[in-house]
């Protein structure tokens, strides 16, 4: 494939550009990314016609995004990690407005302790908000998914904001060949936003996103949001079909990689899933029947897609780059819950937490995880959850603890 070498950030900016976003509210300071810088430069040079407004926080930025979407214009914004959390109150609030827009999140681990590197705890924090979320594994997918996300968000059956997620560093700073679609083709795939009954116009008063008090109305609106989100799976698949037809690249809600006759599988999201593909190739070469399942769409949860793909699979290594403190890996928990409804023989799940705070996952670790999943399947019993963590790493922490005199706290008191 010939294209242009683009970072994930560059690909995201191209996505917003080709989607012809009208309005881009942005908090301009760290942890903001080059996505906004790139768009700002294009607007400055007259290459992109859009209004970019800088705001004093992600809280205001997300409010502005929702408010602008409620007037019927196409809105794009972006944030990362602590910024996403700073805007969290409005993440929940604007989802209830039923005004569609696309927000890109560049995933990074959360404090404390501080890290500049990626994991998925930031995006997981938005799981229950009403935003849909789609996770990308390559720079090409970032661009393509933003275009698809607008179609899904703006669909009248859905009308919810969508977060498109990419991993910091492993995608955001990483250049890969990206095919940039032609404008005419994008316009064919993604016509101008038809806001339907969303409108704010002079002399035509309307109250959107009204505050209604009372449990009956609260429950109604909240559950309607849930039902709309559930519709988004079918809408995604339609959008993916149209996308494949026009651009020749196809995306499923759950990517299946070499799952033919698979007895074992890795399940993971995000850019590290490409490392899993590499491991699958090498394990297949060594005689394994193994594949990868990568949920792209995580909200709504693609339960049907996963259960269907797992038919016949005996052992699964679920790799979470997040940790729900006091519970464990989120993907594992959700997959285990989904399997409760699976007829026939269910696969045994082995839960791994790894890649926290940007920690790498080596090929050898993938092979070992496959081996643990296989043993678990043979035994018919799930192993205890495991943090991917080595003796070498603990030795390094012990060295730092010795410098910090972590053991001296009692004495010094």
């Amino acid at each position: 494939m010939k294209g242009k070498l683009l970072t994930g950030n560059g690909a995201a900016a191209w996505g917003a550009r080709l989607a012809r976003a009208d309005y881009i509210p942005a908090f301009p300071i760290t942890p903001q990314t080059e996505i906004i810088e790139t768009l700002a430069a294009w607007i400055d040079e007259g290459q992109v016609e859009a209004r970019l407004v800088t705001l004093e926080s992600e809280h205001s930025m997300i409010t502005a995004a929702g408010a602008a979407a409620a007037t019927g214009v196409r809105v794009f914004s972006a944030t990362s990690s602590q910024g996403l959390l700073y805007g969290m109150e409005m993440i929940y609030t604007v989802a209830g407005w039923r005004a569609p827009f696309v927000l890109v999140n560049v995933s990074r681990g959360l404090a404390t302790p501080l890290t500049l590197e990626p994991d998925h705890n930031d995006i997981m924090a938005t799981r229950d908000s009403g935003f849909l979320q789609i996770h990308c594994a390559t720079c090409q997918e970032v661009l393509d998914t933003i275009l698809m996300a607008y179609r899904i968000a703006e669909d009248k059956r859905v009308r919810l904001p969508v977060i498109v997620n990419l991993d910091g560093f492993y995608l955001s700073f990483t250049r890969e060949p990206v095919a940039i679609p032609a404008e005419e083709e994008v316009d064919r795939f993604l016509p101008p936003f038809d806001p339907g009954n969303i409108r704010f116009r002079a002399s035509a008063p309307v109250s959107q996103a009204s505050a209604v008090l009372g449990a009956a109305s609260y429950s109604y609106f909240r559950y309607e949001t849930h039902l709309a989100a559930m519709q988004a799976l079918a809408v995604h698949d339609e959008a993916a079909g149209a996308f494949a037809e026009i651009f020749g690249r196809s995306y499923e809600a759950v990517e299946r990689y070499r799952m033919e006759e698979a007895e074992f599988a890795f399940v993971m999201i995000g850019s590290f899933a490409t490392k899993a593909k590499d491991a699958v190739d090498r394990l297949r070469a060594a005689g394994w029947k193994i594949g990868l399942l990568r949920p792209r769409v995580l909200r709504p949860y693609p339960k049907g897609h996963l259960l269907k793909a797992l038919a016949g699979v005996r052992g699964v290594a679920v790799i979470d780059q997040n940790i729900s403190v006091g519970r464990g890996g989120v993907l594992h928990t959700e997959l285990a819950a989904a399997l409760a409804d699976m007829g026939g023989r269910r696969p045994v799940l082995a839960s791994f937490m790894g890649g926290l705070g940007g920690r790498d996952i080596s090929p050898q670790e993938f092979y070992e995880m496959a081996s643990v999943a296989k043993k678990a399947a043979e035994k018919g019993e799930a192993p205890p959850p495991r943090l991917l963590y080595t003796e070498t790493e603990l030795r390094e922490v012990r060295r730092l603890q010795a410098i910090a005199r972590a053991d001296q706290m009692e004495e010094r008191r």
């Binding site: 060949p177 590499d278 090498r282 080596s362 050898q364 670790e365 991917l388 963590y389």
Partner: protein, 297 residues
Amino acid sequence: MKVASRILGTAFYIEGFNVQDAPRYGAERRGAPIFAYVRASHESIHERGIIEDPDLVIVADDSLVPIPAAGILSGLTGRTVLLINTREDAKVWKERLNLQGPVVALPAEADDYAELRFIGARCAGAAAGLLDAIGRNAMEEAIGSELAGMGSETVAKNVEMALAAYDLMKPYEGSVGEGAPHAARTYKRPDWIDLPSEETRISAPDIWQPLTSVQVKTGLWRSERPVIDTAGCNRCWWICGSFCPDGAISLDEKGYPRVDYDFCKGCLICVAQCPSHAIEARPEHEDRSAGTRGERT
């Protein structure tokens, strides 16, 4: 190094390879090591992020060698080529670092040591020269494309520097080869452990030992050092020391200021503030190679 990785990545891409390139850095400050990775293949590239087993390692600044966080030797095997920008011989580095594999020196430029203005282009050029996969035309085109915003003069100079480095590598052309892929059939098992639950006094991220910062020799961040000429110093009211943001200037028994080079980061504020212009900025490597500590008392 980000520039070097992008030039090299684009050159590979022009030559028809699949490419992935990425920089990696932590907190942004002068002297902090920065890494950049380039992968190229005729297949699609599924690997990602840190390269654990490089075929070629390029060190742009040999002062990074003693800095543990730079980890320039990590992943080096007997077949990895180490290309180092240095004023010394390849042989010296090979012996000093006790390396089995090939070491190639990219002779550092005389007038460019502190600024390293063309280091990106030169490293990319030298790497391409070692590879036997990238032609001179592709190099030129890649630099033109990566530095397009910087004006034709800058592009031309970078092309010149890169191609000079490229040609210097002629004797070693083709010395970088592709390593064997990992095999899943036999592999070294990870040394995973079960983390024990430890008391909060151990497991909270607290530092109880005072003055741990003295263990970090921030003097290693310096590219230029202030050198005090005591003959010109009029022992004023310690202006240099008051302005020093790191408190790295003290007074000796005679009342002359003395720089603690273990912690002087080389910001050179003292040079700007000295009323009698008795502090001079000197490229770090000059004093290092002369073996002086820059003290004249």
